[in-house]
């Protein structure tokens, strides 16, 4: 019966024809079949103590094919098919599924591109490491967007089928399951004239955090070595991409006013250079890393 469910899901998402892709020859398929026969339902004996140390090369291809099938289900928004390929005991299962649903609601025409893909297949565990790029059009305005990251996929063999057991690194499928934010600020170095400036530099900040897709604004922190602290608000342009600016006020003897909405810099040569750290607390930076600050440092020089 379960196989019927999978069959229906597969039929509804099937490519219009079978087509061979540029895979290497299917090495050792017989071994796969033999191993599938070996993995009969568990007996009363606990987990085997030491297993065969190496899998056949064909297992790596099967594991990679399973990942590709998951990607196709994600791109086409076939949530039922995607769920059928997950282990229900996966930690964060519902957060993942809800994230996929949200992505498919917000991001249209999803296309995933993998590169630098490496597959390691053991007898019962496979690990796929890959870089990825995810292109999409935003629901609002159909603006093109691009997320990128690196992921590690852990697969467990369930009889003759590989099943995704966990995602590490940047989560490709469900944004809210953790992708490391990318923070950029410019100019990296700027001049703070001792006599002040008529038109002082403006600091531009861009934050890319797919975990916040759908959120309209986000606040970041600026902390200067002259003890100024500001918290500019960045505005979403496409899902998960936020931009904003903050002005500087530079003069010799410039008083430092925390929270004034501008970055005050005392350009007394004795107090330069000044470092300005732009930081953002990423609640879920991926790679199973606890909440962490992502930061970039700018410098104001004489």
């Amino acid at each position: 019966m379960i196989r019927n469910i999978l069959t229906v899901a597969a039929l509804l998402t099937a490519s219009p024809c079978l087509h061979a892709v540029d895979n290497l020859p299917d090495l050792g398929a017989r071994v796969v079949e033999e191993r599938a026969a070996e993995s009969s339902p568990t007996t009363s004996t606990p987990t085997p103590v030491i297993q065969t140390p190496i899998a056949d090369l064909a297992e790596a291809q099967k594991a990679q094919a399973e990942l590709q099938a998951l990607i196709r289900a994600y791109e086409t928004g076939n949530i039922n098919d995607l769920q059928s390929r997950l282990d229900p005991a996966m930690i964060g299962y519902q957060r993942f599924v809800d994230g996929v649903i949200r992505d498919n609601n917000l991001l249209k025409q999803l296309r995933v591109h993998l590169f630098d893909t490496q597959v390691l297949a053991g007898p019962d565990v496979a690990v796929i490491q890959t870089g990825w790029e995810k292109r999409f059009l935003s629901l609002a305005g159909f603006q093109p967007g691009l997320f990128a990251g690196r992921s590690t996929f852990l697969l467990h063999r369930d009889k003759d089928q590989w099943k995704i057991a966990a995602f590490a690194g940047d989560n490709l499928f469900a944004s809210q399951s953790g992708v490391l934010a990318q923070l950029t600020a410019s100019p990296a170095v700027f001049t703070a004239p001792a006599g002040g400036c008529v038109v002082c530099p403006t600091i531009s900040i861009t934050l890319l955090d797919p975990d916040l897709a759908g959120q309209g604004t986000v606040a970041v922190e600026l902390i200067s070595s002259q003890n100024d602290r500001e918290s500019p608000t960045l505005t979403a342009t496409t899902p998960g991409r936020f931009i904003g600016t903050i002005n500087t006020l530079i003069d010799n003897g410039q008083p430092i006013a925390i929270g004034s909405g501008v970055v005050d810099i005392n350009s007394n040569p004795a107090l330069l250079p000044v470092s300005i750290t732009v930081r953002y607390r990423d609640q879920n930076p991926g790679s199973n890393r606890p909440p962490s600050y992502v930061s970039q440092t700018l410098r104001a020089v004489p």
């Binding site: 069959t7 039929l11 079978l18 540029d22 398929a29 039922n80 590169f115 390691l120 093109p144």
Partner: protein
């Protein structure tokens, strides 16, 4: 055979042409080759040396050479493909030596060389390299290793060493190495974008009674700040230490696993943060039913070397399958989840109650191959500010699958509401239809076969604010194969998208043609042409890729 001697033997065999001459081809090679062609996939060649009482050597390998031309348009924001002529050479090999006493020594390598930077960032990408030896009660692996000690302890892939030794019914496992995205970035600091993370882990596993095993594990990791130039990483280097204890109980149809872990996580320049995690999972396979349930609780600062151990998750779930009557199978899942990572954001739920149910109906012997699947799901979440974050869906899929004809018709509706992001609230309805027909001289043992398939899909998204978007895709595919001749695949996909907020429809067209021909011993040659043009109708979004190429696949 002791391990060092085995390795030397392998190196000797690889380096000495005379050794290859001693390897005899299996007598049934030709038979295997014929079978491979009928199966439609190339099979490995296998060289076997099995002197009386001697070590058996098996060598499997393959090379795939691709040469292709890409014409890509649209720029990198829209299209990952690059313009130009490219090549790709993939090589993989698997060498194993099995001694009379059963000891195994192996070397497995896979790599790709290409000048297509859309495919790989480095000319030579070592995809996997592992070697090792295993015997009665021990194993040692080097290179790419995947220690899978426990869910809260260590379960990941890394470059390093893995060793396991059995003492009676107890097992000691240990692993050490480096976490790094690729072999290339391990070898060359200029290619790194993150710190090298040095890791070490160990596990002691022992039986407790006849059906239970208990284990204890320790693991530690530390980013090496010296491995990356200052300023290249936006994250501070970090370190972590974790200890876990757990058990696995298996008795007849019942399996129960439990584990508890304690960790210390330290970011450079900050004080360490301690946290804990525990989990309990159980499953029972009864006659005609299966039950599963569990509880996971991972602190927000819990850290480990396990890919599964997502910090900040607390969840309880119960689910199962039940063959209620011969024509009806029910499948259900209910769970409550807390997500600490949602704190500090406005759009991510911090607590969620969810349930899903599906019914699979078989229409019996009078309607062979006919089935109906119904499904319903609900996820009701709360954001950090107590606003609602919900989604729900239901669907039906009718399918008919027989050797000659197959068809499927499906409809699915999903509604999404998030008070923190209301502009995307709305309902999406999706229709899918598929029809396929197979032709063959003999369906059970064909010498030739042809398949035709037509599908159409339509997705209609209606937003609560009044906007809408609609996508329609038509696809037609054909595949044909004949034993000894090879295979031919072709497909055409046409579609259009109505943008949210109006404007001209966007069109897409994808075509593909491939032909492959097998030679003796499983070698194949393939030529292919693919073209995709997306979103014509809006110059700002238009992009496309045309690829023409040939591939030669050799096994040896």
């Amino acid at each position: 055979m002791n391990p060092p001697f085995a390795l030397v033997s392998i190196a000797f065999l690889l380096a000495t042409p005379a050794a290859a001459e001693k390897i005899l081809l299996a007598d049934n090679r030709e038979v295997l080759s014929n079978w491979q062609q009928s199966a439609g996939t190339p099979q490995t060649a296998e060289l076997v040396k099995q002197d009386d009482g001697g070590t058996r050597i098996e060598w499997k390998g393959g090379v795939t050479l691709d040469r292709y031309n890409n014409r890509a348009t649209g720029g990198t924001l829209l299209n990952p493909a690059l313009n130009g002529n490219f090549y790709k050479a993939q090589v993989q090999g698997d060498l194993r030596a099995t001694a009379p006493d059963g000891n195994l020594t192996y070397l497995q390598v896979s790599g790709t060389h290409s000048d297509d930077r859309a495919l790989q960032r480095y000319p030579l990408l070592l995809q996997s390299a592992q070697m090792g030896w295993a015997g009665d009660g021990y194993q040692v692996a080097l290179g790419d290793v995947a220690p899978d000690f426990s869910t809260l302890g260590t379960s990941l892939g890394m470059r390093g060493v893995l060793a396991q030794k059995q003492f009676g019914q107890s097992v000691v496992s240990a692993s050490a190495g480096t976490l790094v995205p690729t072999w290339n970035s391990l070898a060359d600091a200029a290619k790194r974008t993150q710190f090298l993370r040095n890791v070490v882990a160990a596990k002691f596993d022992m039986p407790v009674g006849s059906a239970t095993r208990a284990f204890i594990s320790f693991q530690s990791y530390a980013d090496d700040p010296a491995t990356l130039d200052r300023g290249l990483s936006s994250l501070a280097p970090a370190s972590g230490r974790t200890g876990t204890v757990g058990f696995v109980h298996q008795r007849e149809q019942l399996t129960v696993t439990g584990e508890a872990g304690f960790s210390l996580w330290t970011e450079s320049g900050q004080s360490g943060l301690r946290d804990h995690a525990y989990l309990l999972d159980a499953s029972y396979n009864g006659q005609g039913y299966n039950l599963r349930g569990g509880h996971h609780n991972l602190g927000v600062y819990y850290t480990s070397l396990a890919a599964q151990a997502a910090p900040g998750i607390v969840e309880t779930y119960l689910g199962g399958n039940w063959l209620a009557v011969p024509w009806l199978t029910l499948q259900g899942d209910a769970r409550r989840s807390e997500n600490s990572a949602g704190d500090g954001t406005r759009v991510n739920a911090t607590t969620t109650d969810s349930a899903s149910l599906s019914q699979t109906i078989a229409f019996g012997a009078n309607w062979p191959g006919l089935g109906l699947v119904l499904n319903q799901s609900l996820s009701a979440g709360k954001n950090a500010d107590a606003s609602d974050n919900r989604n729900s869906g239901y669907g039906a899929a009718l399918n008919y699958a027989q050797p000659i004809w197959n068809t499927a018709l499906g409809y699915n509706v999903r509604k999404v509401e998030n008070e923190a992001s209301p502009t995307a609230d709305g309902q999406t309805g999706t229709w899918n239809f598929l029809l396929g027909r197979a032709f063959s001289d003999d369906l059970t043992n064909p010498t030739w076969r042809a398949d035709l398939q037509f599908s159409v899909g339509m997705q209609d998204q209606q937003l609560d604010i009044g906007d809408s978007t609609r996508t329609i895709q038509y696809a037609f595919g054909a595949a044909a194969s004949r034993v000894g001749w090879g295979s031919l695949n072709a497909s055409v996909t046409l579609g259009k998208v109505k943008p949210t907020g109006g404007g001209a429809d966007l069109h897409n067209r994808e075509t593909m043609l491939e032909a492959s021909h097998p030679f003796k011993n499983g070698n194949t040659v393939k030529v292919y042409a693919r073209e995709s043009r997306l979103f014509s109708g809006d110059p700002a979004l238009e992009n496309g890729t045309r690829s023409i190429g040939a591939q030669l696949a050799l096994v040896f």
